[in-house]
Symmetry: C2
Subunit: 375 residues, 2 copies
Amino acid sequence: MTIDRREMLGAMTAVAAGAVAGVAGVAEGATTQPKKSGTRLKKIATEEACSVPEVAAALREVAHTTWTNLDMLLVNAIYNAPAGTRAPFLPELLDIDAGRLKVMDDNDVDMHLLSLTAPGVQMFDADTGTALATVANDALAEAVKKHPTRYSALATFAPQDPKRAVKEMERAINSLKMNGFIINSHTNNEYLDLPKFWPILEAAEALDAALYIHPRAPSDGMAAPFRDYRLETAAWGYGVEVATHAVRLMLSGTLDHFPKLKIVLGHMGEAVPFWLWRLDFMGRPGFGNNMRTNKLKPSEYFRQNFVITTSGVEDHLALRYSIDRIGVDSVLWAIDYPYQPTTPAVKFIESAPIPDADKQKVAHGNAERIFHINV
Amino acid sequence: MTIDRREMLGAMTAVAAGAVAGVAGVAEGATTQPKKSGTRLKKIATEEACSVPEVAAALREVAHTTWTNLDMLLVNAIYNAPAGTRAPFLPELLDIDAGRLKVMDDNDVDMHLLSLTAPGVQMFDADTGTALATVANDALAEAVKKHPTRYSALATFAPQDPKRAVKEMERAINSLKMNGFIINSHTNNEYLDLPKFWPILEAAEALDAALYIHPRAPSDGMAAPFRDYRLETAAWGYGVEVATHAVRLMLSGTLDHFPKLKIVLGHMGEAVPFWLWRLDFMGRPGFGNNMRTNKLKPSEYFRQNFVITTSGVEDHLALRYSIDRIGVDSVLWAIDYPYQPTTPAVKFIESAPIPDADKQKVAHGNAERIFHINV
């Protein structure tokens, strides 16, 4: 499938109009944080969602199918909103220029590390997903080129076809100079510990590019208890899905093959840091009736392969726990724009009761190191 | 179904013999913690597993069926061990007398709050489950009567028949003077937020008896990603299962009807405390597209209805986080005998870097209050 960008953009007139009209309605506090005299905290936000018209249009097509996958609730709400209504979040997602920069300016945010929002290109057939990944990566790279001090970006790829995914990953880093990768947890209910996906892990490691495992709703095989009370959302299911993904990577021993791979978990590590003691005890090497082959303890994989971001968990106690548990060099600040309001996320890091040197690392230094940001 | 205790005990000769023979092989460190001169920390352990021969025999029958439920791995390993081998944990589980007391003495543990180990009576048909709950409760009450300063006990019941469950709950508290209840998460893949189970919640609240939601493996509808790498175990699946159960109770609004119900979550609250900020933001009242009816924020339910125990999470950072997040009056010490060794669990609480008054609460005071222990 070839994507004709002009044709697609034409088809997206309604969505784009909504995007422009919607900017004024952004539910963002516009109050700039008071700055301490003489000090200013540089802030790079590392899980900042966006979309591009081509992907939004394709997701609207997905919304018209009869899938029972739990992500369909979100896909329907955002990409198939009734005509004449404001699609929740879509205007903000599609704006990777002035509207977004204004929110950042108003809140004293230096940079968004942009990423194509969930479910990315993972709900499409392999050809469509592969083609749309290219389109999305080009668009994000273009935004970075236009505003190099304000945006950096993670590249997307279609795990549905690992071989072509690897080619796009190489293009994204080598040609587009993007800053890492993002994947939205499972792909057609399969996880990255399956050997067919290992070329993707190998490529990320070889390219020295971190792989952000972003949430999507729980996979079909674990969906049932999440079908009530909107449990599939960021309120609960997202975290269970990604944390389970991370634990599969650890207890399968997959990470023994990729010791230099860096994986990023949002939402304060999806609570995996809080589980590390129990994971170590019950998941120690050799314990698991030969159904596990992990050579390291989970906490050792965590130290070797993972960093976390604070997106959506503005809890100073959780921040302190995480820093003490996995080390201050492994914790990165994030907003989760536009799903979380910017002002409280900024206040969270500005007011964090941690030493200033640690705050500098969390707010920007670690992001610069992990994502190779040099501006 | 009527259980003839003498007949059943006869049939269990092999298991019982294994139990006696096995005590010497207990993998417990026997070193008593050095006591500080002049001080001694009273210790009531609140998630201490046991079994009775009748339930063990019935689970051996279950092991011979073709269920695909994830608990079958544990049921098979423990209750259907090959002849001539030592069934893991079974001897320790069946000993609610001298062997257990010796481990407690050797480690300076005052009391075990006994409970019938997972999956309890929840894998049986309603008649068998109901009958076995009575047998188990009688046996545990007998152990408490024999050693009233060393044992207290939680009562079991069969949620498969909520009406008869309530009768047994009333008998357990009013006649047997037991200290609360235990349930092993889902029953036939259903959770306590379903109105058919509400009489159980109503009874626990009316009897002023706390309900411990103990893990079992994830329910069938969420089992798929846990079928690899023994992920269904205490290493991961147990926590996901119980935490999801707790979140269902909160986001369904079920707890609005039972404001005085006390629910106990083991394993440092199954990490739910660490999720409270995000649960509050994404699960706040009115947010959830009318598919949720909760009147309170999750953290408000947590404060109102939940306490946690430290079983299986001997992490001082997690202890500190939990005390700071939910309050020291809501954190109780537990070992998780025999699945966790006693010596490190004792060392964990003895050496916890918290004020002595807090340590007294966690080690015994909160247990005395929540479970009405007065010895």
